[in-house]
Each structure stands twice: as C-alpha cells, then as structure tokens.
Amino acid sequence: MEYFLQQLINGLTLGSIYGLIAIGYTMVYGIIGMINFAHGEIYMIGAFISLIAFLSLGLLGISFVPLQLVIVLLVAMFFTAVYGWTMERIAYRPLRGSTRLAPLISAIGMSIFLQNYVQLLQGARVKPLQPVVQGGIELMTNADNFSVQITYLQIFIIVLTVALMAAFSNVISRTPLGRAQRACEQDMTMASLLGVDVDRTISLTFVMGAALAAVAGMMVTMYYGVIDFYIGFLAGVKAFTAAVLGGVGSLPGAMLGGLLIGLIEAFWSGYFSVEYKDVSVFMILVLVLIFRPTGLLGKPEVEKV
C-alpha cells in the first residue's frame, strides 16, 4: 500500500511533465495536422536554458529560492518560445499547403539539427544541477520503516502544471486568440476569409506549445538533476504517445494521456522491470490505437470523399 502510494506520487509528477509536452503536440496537430517532430527538441532546449539560467542566477548571487524559480521559469519560457517561433517560421511555414510528408521530413531535419546544435555548443556530456528545492513531507511510515514521501519539488511541479493547465484552457476557450485557434482548426480557408490572421495564429500556437515545453524542461532539470542533449527524443515520443492516447487535438485529453503515461511508467518500473519501461509505454500506445483509434477523449473523425 505504501509502496503503491509512493509510485502514484512519482507517476503523477512524471505525468505532469509529459502532459505539458503533449499539449504542444496536440495543439499543433489540431491546427495544422502535422506531427511536430522537433517538439521534443524544443523541450530539451527549454531544459538547457533553465539549467543555464539557474547557474547564471547562482553566479549573480540571487539565492532566494522562490525568486530563482520565477525568474528561471520566465526566462526559459521566453527564450524557448522564440525558438519555437523561429522553427515554425523557417521550417514549416514555407511548406504549408505542400505534400503531407514534406513538413514531417523537414521536422525530422529540424530535430537532428537542434540536437547537434546543442551538442556542439554545450558539449555532449551529461550536465548535472545541484538540487534547488530540497526537503519534503512525510505522509506515512509503515512497519518496515518504508516512508511515503512527497517532496516540495513534486508539489511545486504538480501545482504549477495544474495552474498552467487552467490558464491555457482559459486562453483557448475565452480569449479572441483561442477563438481564432479553434476557427483555424476547423477550416483554415474560411477562417482567413472571415478576417482571422491564420499565419499569426499558427505562430502563436507554436509559441504557446514551446513555452509549455520549456516549463516541462525546467521541471525535468530540477527533478532529475541531470540533462543531456539527447533527452528530447524519448520524451518527445512519449509525449506524442500521451497526446494520441488522450485523443489528438483535445487539450484535456493530452493532460490525461500524459498522466496515464507517467503512471504506467512509474508502476511498471516499480513493480516489473526498469529496463522495459519504455517498451510498456509503446505497447499501451499500440493497444489503445487498436481498440480505440481516436484516443480516450478524441472525437471520431468522419472521412469525407
């Protein structure tokens, strides 16, 4: 029971991170119907910028932890969002209205480019970060002296995710930008005829996705304490799996899918084997696609002739 609870807490934390990345996939897929393969790399860049921001703040002598967190969060979101915007502008916008495969190849190229760009600039070695937020709350202890613990960092991650989710749902459902996004999702030509700036809306979608991925990157940097230039690939694939699991195009679906993937991974490594935890995620993906191809919260797609 105690062990189960501990895995549940770990899984929720991991799931929050995957969910934040998955939102970027699902928004982009919803609006232009393309797998943004380089989104995992954007998350990796977010992690690196957070690491560099933490180190710089340390050098500048700012050691008050909440202030550090706020500054790093804003810095990482801003710079990573600019990366997301540039990526769309260079690699995807010229290909809009082209064949279906062209943007995907371009995205794979972008992914390879960004990985090597960071590797060349920051080195291939694993980068460690000293723990920023320490300590936690002991929830319960059993007879074998196994204590269930939720760390302050885990609380921070889960609370921040919930807050960001609420904020972004609000943006999508209430603001003019969200309305424009939903309009583009349904019919891009019609939306542009009615005065929606399609290019700008798509750019902002990429910016939003990248900002959320940056938050995920910052969380991972603090949570695991080590990052390298290669973390984007696997996290990206898993987050995409989460997006598909929840139903591509659905924002709550992405979050739900992320949480499920996080839980599956935590329980699998807790109860079965650590080596095959990635296999478990992919197996779940295959099973979901076979039995419920639209995902858990997705709407069935009507094929038109």
Partner: protein
C-alpha cells in the same frame, strides 16, 4: 534599356528588405544569447560553471543580418521577371528528362556500377564506400515500396533491417548457417515481423501509423540492448561469418588450414584483401539490382497497381472491392523482407553488429533518401543515397558538423523541392503507350 533597368531596380523596396534583415538579426540575437553566449563548463565533481562567449553571439547576429539582407535582395531582384516558373524550372525539366530516358540512364548506371572495381581509381576505401551506398540504395528501394508506392509512412524501417541482421547473426552463432543459407530465412523472418506488426496497426491513419512504427523500431532496439543472453546486449555479436563463393572463402591461404578452400588458392592467384571487398560489393550490387527488378515488376502486376491506387484514394479502392488491409499488409511484408535481406548483408559485411547501428536516426536517413530522391522514383533513390552517404566522406575533417549540416540539408531540400529532387509523376499506365504520349507532347 539602361534607363529601364535602373527604373526597375528602384522599385525594390529597400526599407522593407532592411527591416526584414534587422528583424532576423534581432531574433538571431535572442536565440543566441542563452545557448551560444553562455556555455556550461565542467568544474570537477558534479559542479558546473558558466563561460561567456558573447563575441560568438555578435558574429552570429551579424552573419544572420548580412545573410538575410542578401537573400531578401536576391528574392526581390528575382521576383520581378517571371514569378512562378523561375527557380525550380530547371530542375523540373531535368526531372522530366531523367524520367523520359530512365532506361538509358539505368543501363549506363548499372554498367558503371559493374565496372567500378576495375576502374583505375578503385581501392579498398572506394569499394567500402560504394558497398555502403549500395546498402542504402537497397534499403531505399525497399522502403520505397512501403512509402512511395503504398503511401504508408513507416518511421521504424530500421527494425526490419535489425531483424534481418540479428537473425543472420544468431543463425550463424547457434546453427552454424552460412550467409547464403541464412539469407532467405532472415528475409522471411523480417517479413513475418512485418505482418505481425502490420496486422493490428495498418488500419490506422497515416500519422498514427508513423508513430506506431517508430515505437516498434524503439521496442526492437530496447529488446536488443536488454536481452543480453541472446543478443549480446550493448556489446552486440562478434565474429559473424563472411560469405563464401560456392564454398570458397576469401581468407589468406597462409593463415588457414590446408583443407579449407580459399578463393586465391582455388584459382591460383595471389591473395589480396581487395578481392573480398570486390566480392562483397558484387553481392550487394546483385541484391540491389534484384530488388529493383522485383519492385519494377511488382508495379506492373495487379498488386502493384492496387498499392498505387490505395495511395491515391482509399475510399475509391474500397468501393471497387479491394481489401485495403491485405494490400497494405503485402506492401509492408515485402518492404520488410527487402530490409531483412539488406540487414543480413550488413551483418556479414561488417562481421560485427550491435544495437547502435539500428537507432532511429538510421530510419530517418532511409526515409530521407526516399523522400529527398522523389517519392516513387527509383533513380531518385540512387541519387539521394549517393549524395547522403558520400557527402560525409568528403567532409571528414568536418565530422562533428556532419549531422548538423545533414539536418539543415533536409530542411533546405524540402523547402526548395517539397516533392523531392527528381520528383516527376509519370502515369504508370497509358491509353496509347509511352511513345504516343511523347509524340503528342512534342507536337
């Protein structure tokens, strides 16, 4: 005339070009500050320091500004006369010419490939690179069946390549099968894997299929790494036997026992290392040519037509009574089988395999070869494979920038020619034959 030219030039909107360049420079500056300007520095035990490199940021920003200015100016100059048919017209015409004379180009290409080992510049190194090119050509042709003809996006093609390589290595290790006995078995095994994977997932829409195949590729790789008892784990499998020519091995006769027949001993010629490379090169050349003939033949059969029809319109196919799942499955299985053959050749030519050779990047490179060459174009695959495999060989000193440039090239080629370098849609069936169509085009 001169007056007209100046008047034309004056119409270029310099302030707009300049504004664009300044904007690009500002963006480049923002992008560069955190990752280029600040570098993490290892400082012993688990500690990182920061080094600043703001001079690099300045150079980068200036380079982007000047580059953007030049591009903006060139685009403005070129945009004036013919807007649409300007840039890629030359390559379009080339692609059309190539497809028109594809038979002739093919014959010349094959003749060159056959003669390559005996040309004056040929060496062990050249043959090694040529063998590598041919492996990718074969993989490209195999994947072309799946992606180019049947229109199924497969991001995990390397899985079948791995299945082929490992099944040969394991057959050799456990049952002492030689290359020629194991080759058909590993092809069939890879095809079986294709069917087993394809059966549940092939009814999915394109992008889902892509991600499932990617996941499958990763699963295979993770299993190869972790199932150490059988696959040797990250260390891979060593000492895979080399292929023989009707039982004649290509070993040095001085180093083997008397009763082992060797190529040089049998034909009473001097032993040379290059003989083995020539032999390997011819094996892969023949395998690739068989692949080519096989796929070209398949395109003319009902199954091949069904693939292309399915790619164009699945609903229409269904209405005409075709079974999409079986047709897709056959494309998947045949593609997998060809990948398996290539894999088992890879294992025998390398003598050693490990999971590192079967990462996602390999799948991406093979897919890039198919798409960059021009989907469905057999010659395009050869061109793309030659470019992508030999380019890194030229830039050995630039080795660390290799993948960086590779990624940039993929983006650039896609933007420049989204349908691929030699993309040219030829109908595979005509009412009055090819010559009639050509006459009509000439008239």
């Amino acid at each position: 005339m001169a007056v007209a030219a100046t008047a034309e030039r004056a119409r270029i909107d310099f302030p707009a070009v300049l504004k664009d360049a300044v904007l690009a420079a500002v963006v480049a500056f923002v992008l560069a500050v955190p990752l280029v300007g600040l570098q993490t520095l290892d400082q012993g035990a688990n500690a990182l320091g920061i080094k600043t490199r703001f001079d690099w940021v300045a150079y980068g920003t200036i380079a982007v500004f000047l580059g953007r200015l030049a591009i903006g100016y060139l685009l403005a100059v070129r945009a004036r006369p013919a807007t649409a048919a300007g840039t890629s017209g030359g390559l379009n015409a080339l692609a059309a010419t190539v497809s028109q004379y594809s038979t002739a180009i093919g014959v010349v290409g094959v003749a060159f490939a056959v003669a390559l080992p005996f040309l004056p510049f040929s060496s062990v190194y050249v043959l090694d690179v040529a063998t590598k090119v041919m492996i990718y050509v074969m993989l490209g042709w195999g994947l072309n069946v799946v992606v180019g003809l049947a229109g199924l996006l497969d991001l995990g093609y390397v899985a079948f390549y791995a299945v082929g390589a490992y099944s040969f290595a394991l057959f050799a290790q456990w049952f002492h099968l030689g290359f020629w006995q194991a080759l058909p078995v590993s092809g069939i095994l890879a095809a079986t894997f294709g069917v087993v994977l394809g059966f549940p997932v092939l009814r999915l829409r394109g992008d889902y299929l892509a991600i499932v195949t990617l996941g499958f590729g990763e699963i295979i790789r993770i299993i190869l790494i972790n199932w150490s008892d059988v696959t040797g784990g990250p260390n891979g499998i060593n000492g895979i036997p080399r292929p023989t020519l009707f039982g004649l091995s290509f070993l040095n006769p001085d180093n083997v026992a008397e009763d082992v027949p060797t190529f040089s001993g049998f034909f009473h010629i001097d032993f040379a290392v290059i003989q083995r490379y020539i032999f390997l090169y011819y094996i892969i050349l023949i395998l690739a040519l068989i692949t080519n003939a096989f796929t070209l033949r398949l395109r003319k059969l009902p199954i091949g037509r069904a693939w292309e029809a399915l790619r164009e319109d699945e609903i229409a196919c269904r209405a005409l009574g075709l079974n999409p799942r079986n047709i897709k499955l056959s494309a998947f299985a045949i593609g997998a089988m060809l990948g398996g053959f290539a894999g088992s050749f890879f294992a025998t030519s390398q003598n050693f395999i490990s999971p590192e050779s079967f990462t996602f990047i390999e799948s991406a490179i093979i897919l890039a070869i198919v798409v960059l060459g021009g989907m469905g174009s057999q010659l395009g695959v050869v061109l793309a494979a030659t470019v992508l495999v030999t380019l890194p060989e030229f830039g050995r000193e630039l080795a660390q920038f290799r993948m960086l440039i590779f990624g940039m090239a993929m983006i650039a080629i896609m933007i420049w020619r989204p349908r691929g370098l030699l993309a040219h849609r030829e109908p595979s069936l005509r009412l009055h034959g090819k010559s009639a169509a050509r006459r009509k085009a000439a008239a």
